[in-house]
């Protein structure tokens, strides 16, 4: 009787171990599945080839902002009041620290994703020294 119990226990343990091993292979658990199948397989590559879009250089920088006009352009991310005071604070900073710099705060009518040709034209025709554009976030 005792022998039969021991034999039954051994068989139960054996079946359980085999079951665990088979299950691991099927489910692809990485530590055990590796032992199940070392066959090499070939699959297609899901990645899509791409390359960078055409590169365009930045405009040359100016030597100094002193005496220049700097446009501060609010793209109104989050609305017309969302970040406008950031530009107002920049204007305050320039007036205190670089008083020769003239600042012009503008809201772009194109918003965050559109264009504002009239504003671009103004900035270019007035030969602005530089433009700060923002603010998303």
């Amino acid at each position: 009787m005792k022998k039969k119990i021991l034999l039954d226990s051994f068989l139960f343990l054996l079946v359980a171990l085999i079951s665990i091993g088979v299950t691991s292979c099927i489910t692809g658990q990485e530590d055990t599945a590796k032992n199940c199948d070392e066959r090499l397989i070939t699959v297609l590559n899901p990645a899509i080839s791409s390359r960078m879009v055409e590169r365009v250089p930045l405009a040359p920088r100016i030597d100094t902002l002193e005496g220049k006009t700097i446009y501060l352009v609010d793209l109104q991310w989050g609305g017309p009041k969302a970040a406008y005071s950031v530009f107002e604070e920049m204007e305050v900073w320039f007036s205190r620290n670089m008083p020769s710099v003239k600042t012009e705060i503008r809201r772009s009518s194109g918003g965050s994703f559109g264009d504002d040709p009239a504003l671009r034209e103004e900035i270019i025709s007035k030969k602005a020294g530089g433009v700060v554009i923002g603010i998303a976030g």
């Binding site: 365009v56 352009v73 991310w77």
Partner: protein, 440 residues
């Protein structure tokens, strides 16, 4: 932002600097690579910027640029005055990147699965590895050539063969492939937003029955192979095509659980009340056409329980839809709800219901502009004088406005098993449907 800066630099030869929250600036390289081509100089503020009081904005200006570590205003001055680096002077087409090989190096299944996870070519549910014979079998589901382009994203082109790879990975059958191809003409369309965008996929026409796409009981639940797999393929394809990897191309703050399956459903055309046309017929297609319609949205609100006689479903739609942007909506309702609306409320067509909602949904102007998507998207139109946005921006915030100006932007889809008078209102804006038969 980068487009505006690019034009100023290019057309005016005027230096610019992009100023943004650090949450946006961290993805500047993705924009350079796939979109802009100009290495715009940036400074980064702490996030969030929008909605903060002036005192916080002042501290940002007086604080550090999170990119360079310099004082913010010094960083701005440097961005406008420091000479260009060789990298910033580059122009023309970049050297061709090494093209992706058609096949991956042979490896064990375990190693390949690991690679797919490392490259994020997965939604992290188990995938079927796209072995050659499996992809070849999938390609038998269409007459289109493997190198035909299904959709483009920048310089990235998804071919029929790539689509077949994604379909295999998601567990699709070859007979699903034309529907999947029609769906993928709209890919990718999520991920590149800080908000929680997702998609809705609606199938109409005979293909529903042919493929067993569920339109009845538990239509939105995980109970149909076709719904599950077709919806999943759209996400896998979108992720891989858009190179949307966590904290690389994908930067939605919360993301959306709907992206796992994209609310992939079929309309229960057989259960439509008389006079209520299927979605694709409303778009001008024939009832015998098979069509898939896709739209982007964010929100998904359930009726929870059954319809009530004292405050019937259309009034509840109206109440719930006050929470939506107003840019578009899709209501998914059980056939029993559609029947009630026709028989007890007199809505003889879907269009009549959409018209009623357009006229009766009202929100306070302050609430409307309190939605960041509305504010960002519609304020420029308001400032350009476009109505009704210009007026809505001027009125006192408590003034009631009707944000759903276009009844045609309120779509109705009838689906479900007739077990509960339940429904969902969503803000998914469905685009024009795509013919599936074209992709057979």
């Amino acid at each position: 932002m980068s487009r505006f800066a690019r034009r100023i630099e290019l057309e005016g030869k005027i230096p610019t600097v992009g100023a943004s929250g650090v949450n946006i600036v961290r993805f500047k390289d993705y924009d350079l690579q796939y979109s802009n081509g100009m290495p715009i100089r940036y400074v980064a503020f702490p996030f969030p910027v929008a909605g903060q009081p002036r005192s916080v904005h002042k501290s940002y200006v007086e604080g550090k640029d999170l990119l360079s570590g310099k004082p913010m205003m010094q960083a701005i001055i440097d961005a406008l005055t420091m000479p260009l680096t060789d990298e910033e002077k580059k122009e023309g087409m970049p050297a061709e990147a090494a093209p992706e090989p058609k096949l991956l190096e042979p490896d064990t299944e375990v190693n390949l699965r690991r690679l797919f996870k490392e490259r994020e070519w997965t939604d992290f549910n188990p995938i079927i590895l796209p072995a050659e014979e499996r992809v070849a079998e999938m390609l038998k589901g269409t007459s289109h050539q493997p190198d035909e382009v299904v959709s483009k994203f920048g310089s990235r082109e998804m071919t029929v063969e790539k689509a077949a790879i994604y379909a295999v990975m998601a567990g699709a059958k070859p007979e699903y492939f034309p529907t999947i191809l029609a769906t993928l003409t709209q890919a990718p369309s999520f991920g590149n937003s800080t908000s929680s965008m997702a998609n809705m996929i609606v199938v109409n026409g005979p293909i529903r029955k042919q493929l067993g796409i569920n339109s009845g009981t538990d239509v939105m639940g995980p109970f149909s192979e076709a719904n599950s797999v077709i919806g999943r393929t759209f996400t896998l394809a979108g992720k891989i095509m858009g190179d949307l990897r966590l904290d690389e191309g994908a930067y939605s703050s919360l993301g959306s659980n709907l992206q796992y399956n994209n609310v992939c459903i079929a309309e229960n055309e057989e259960a439509l009340p008389e006079g209520w046309e299927p979605l694709h017929v409303q778009m001008g297609y024939k009832p015998t056409d098979s069509v898939v319609t896709i739209g982007v949205g964010w929100s998904y609100i359930s009726s929870v329980g059954e319809a009530q006689i004292n405050h019937p479903p259309h009034m509840m739609f109206r109440d719930y839809m006050r929470s939506l942007t107003g840019m578009g909506a899709t209501i998914v309702m059980d056939p029993t709800v559609a029947g009630l609306l026709k028989e007890t409320q007199g809505f003889n067509t879907k269009a009549e219901l959409s018209e009623w909602l357009s006229k009766n949904i009202e929100v306070a102007a302050g609430t409307y502009w309190g939605n960041g998507v509305n504010t960002t998207a519609m304020t420029p139109m308001a400032l350009q004088g476009m109505e009704p946005f210009a007026t809505w921006l001027k009125v006192p915030p408590e003034t009631l406005i009707k944000p759903f100006t276009d009844p045609k932007a309120i779509q109705v889809v009838v689906a479900g098993g007739g077990i509960q008078t339940t429904w969902f209102v969503t803000d998914f804006g469905l685009r024009r449907g795509v013919l599936i038969d074209k992709w057979k």
